[in-house]
């Protein structure tokens, strides 16, 4: 028998591990995968059908659909739209959607972040669970409730605040207005939407604050930090991007709201930047408003509007998703 020479042993290549899947497992995988892909199917169908229905309108209106603000249906008795004369422009509504949602986020995010900080770091343990449950409870309130409560109970107060804003900050362009109509303004809608999204943004922020690495928190305290100094040095850098993601999710939610805004916003087909003035619009509530009396041609325009809204919220939510995901991975 020959002695092995003193050669360096060659490292073998890793073996390929295979297994023949059982038929039942194959079926299982198939069923589950198709279930999983159903969301793709549904979303795709939504895009296709809305685009298909709205095609006539979009092709005749062109870019004017999103840049123009006139909504003037010219149709004959049979309901056939005369596309050469009809105008469908949702610019005012799009701007209104963005405006109301932005106001909502501007109001809701500071309150939500402060509330989340309170719940995570300041609340005494005895009441903490109860408070968290209370805030999360509000996330379950139906939107029609916010619409009706907003109309009857919030609006008078909101009018009062709007008057105050106008009185003291009226020199700013958006708080100025020519005609003092304070009810059913983008401001009121923004406040109602803010109240609606506070629970969502608070809950996301709270989760993120809760994930702050404990060793960094302890390091800060061990250095003699006060609670606020610790929060500023550790929690906020860590949670900043996650909170931004949460805020954008709130923005997306506020953009798509229908009934909560419908009651407290006056739909007027003119771009309105004066947030205290009772005129504005929101794509979703416009669709709801017009749906009742719309003929088939107009319905197509509503479909196209829905498509525009859908794409808008899709973009906002995707950005939000990306931001939240990147914050988690970074961990800093």
């Amino acid at each position: 028998m020959t002695l092995l020479e003193n050669q360096p042993a060659a490292i073998p290549a890793p073996r390929e591990i295979t297994t023949k899947p059982r038929v039942s497992d194959k079926i299982f995988r198939g069923v589950v995968t198709s279930g999983g892909l159903s969301s793709l199917v549904i979303l795709g169908l939504i895009l296709i059908y809305l685009a298909y229905q709205g095609y006539d309108v979009l092709s005749s209106q062109g870019l004017n659909f999103i840049t123009g603000s006139e909504w003037n249906v010219v149709a004959d008795e049979a309901g056939n739209i005369d596309y050469s004369q009809t105008k469908f422009g949702i610019a005012a509504m799009l701007i209104g959607t963005i405006l109301c949602a932005t106001i909502a986020v501007l109001i809701a995010v500071p309150i939500s972040v402060l509330t989340a900080l309170y719940l995570s770091f300041y609340a005494p343990t005895s009441i903490r669970k109860f408070m968290v449950a209370l805030i999360d409870l509000m996330a379950a309130f139906p939107s029609v409730l916010f619409g009706i409560w907003g109309f009857f109970i919030l609006m008078p107060s909101a009018e009062y605040w709007a008057k105050l804003l106008h009185k003291y900050l009226g020199f700013l362009p958006f708080f100025n207005m020519e005609v003092p109509v304070y009810t059913r303004s983008p401001f009121v809608a923004g406040v109602v939407l803010a109240i609606m999204i506070i629970p969502i943004v608070t809950s996301i922020s709270r989760e993120i604050f809760g994930q702050t690495p404990l060793d960094r928190i302890q390091a800060a305290y061990a250095l003699g930090a006060t609670r606020w100094a610790m929060i500023k040095a550790v929690v906020i850098p860590y949670g900043r991007s996650g909170v931004v993601g949460g805020a954008m999710l709130g923005l997306g939610r506020a953009m798509g709201e229908t009934v909560a805004v419908y009651t407290v916003l006056n739909i007027v087909y003119q771009i309105n930047w004066q947030v205290l003035l009772g005129a504005g619009g929101n794509v979703a509530s416009m669709i709801l408003l017009k749906f009742g009396e719309a003929g088939p041609g107009e319905i197509k325009a509503l479909m196209a509007s829905g498509l525009a809204l859908f794409l808008l919220t899709l973009i906002v939510n995707s950005i939000a998703d990306l931001i939240v995901k990147s914050s988690g991975a970074k961990g800093r």
């Binding site: 343990t125 690495p213 060793d215 960094r216 302890q218 390091a219 800060a220 305290y221 061990a222 250095l223 003699g224 930090a225 006060t226 100094a229 610790m230 040095a233 550790v234 850098p237 860590y238 800093r332």
Partner: protein, 282 residues
Amino acid sequence: MDKTATRPSSLSDVAAAKQKKTPGEGSLGVGLEARGIHAWFSGKHVLDNISLDFWSGTVTALIGPSGCGKSTFIRTLNRMHEFIPGAQMAGEVLLDGKDIYESGTDVTKIRLKVGMVFQKPNPFPSMTIAENVLSGLKLAELKVSNKDELLEDCLERAGLWSEVKDRLNAHGGSLSGGQQQRLCIARSLAVKPQVLLMDEPCSALDPGSTLRIEETIAQLSSSMTIIIVTHNMQQAARVSDYTAFFLSEGGPGSMIEVGPTSEIFSRPRDRRTENYVTGRFG
């Protein structure tokens, strides 16, 4: 430290090789006193009647098997114990003669005087190296006339200056484990503590880094009180002037024996101490 050619044959030799200090030696008297410390977690008694004096200018090691309350004990010394929900305590901790648990005390000021280095290095990743070292000042809103001088001084004392002086603006997380721990030490030094607590500072590090940190501890000890919890008896023998042995026999942890390190390792008075340092258990 005396690096002789002959290897020490026992812990007692190691401890004897270290310069002996008698009680009171070290210029500033008693650094910290613990009187009758008890600790509970939600009613469960975990520390029983610990009384210890820590002398300034010395290093005291706390040894003992895991779970006997050493970490809990040092957290009572800088009032970090109270962060754990359900934590309770009894007893006094005197710093400069005043009880740090006295009602109305500003606890953040206490923590400036009693610093802590943790087991896992935890520099702030959102800050640069320089910002990390000076973070204690920012957190406590302390004003310092010459930041750069302080920065260099702390990094020098922590044994890190030569390695990072050219990259002070690099991120805190870009250093190796041992370097990060020395950064944490430098960070603790910036607020000029009188006492430095170290909770197993080397257990997450490789032997090379461990040795460097032990050198740092030796240099720092001349100007402050150092209390180090360690699982590693050889480390305790190398580094400390005094050693306290903690043990829990099923109930709350208590301190069995304390004395100069060389005595503890060569002539322990209690049989349980002897069993532990000779490796019969733990």
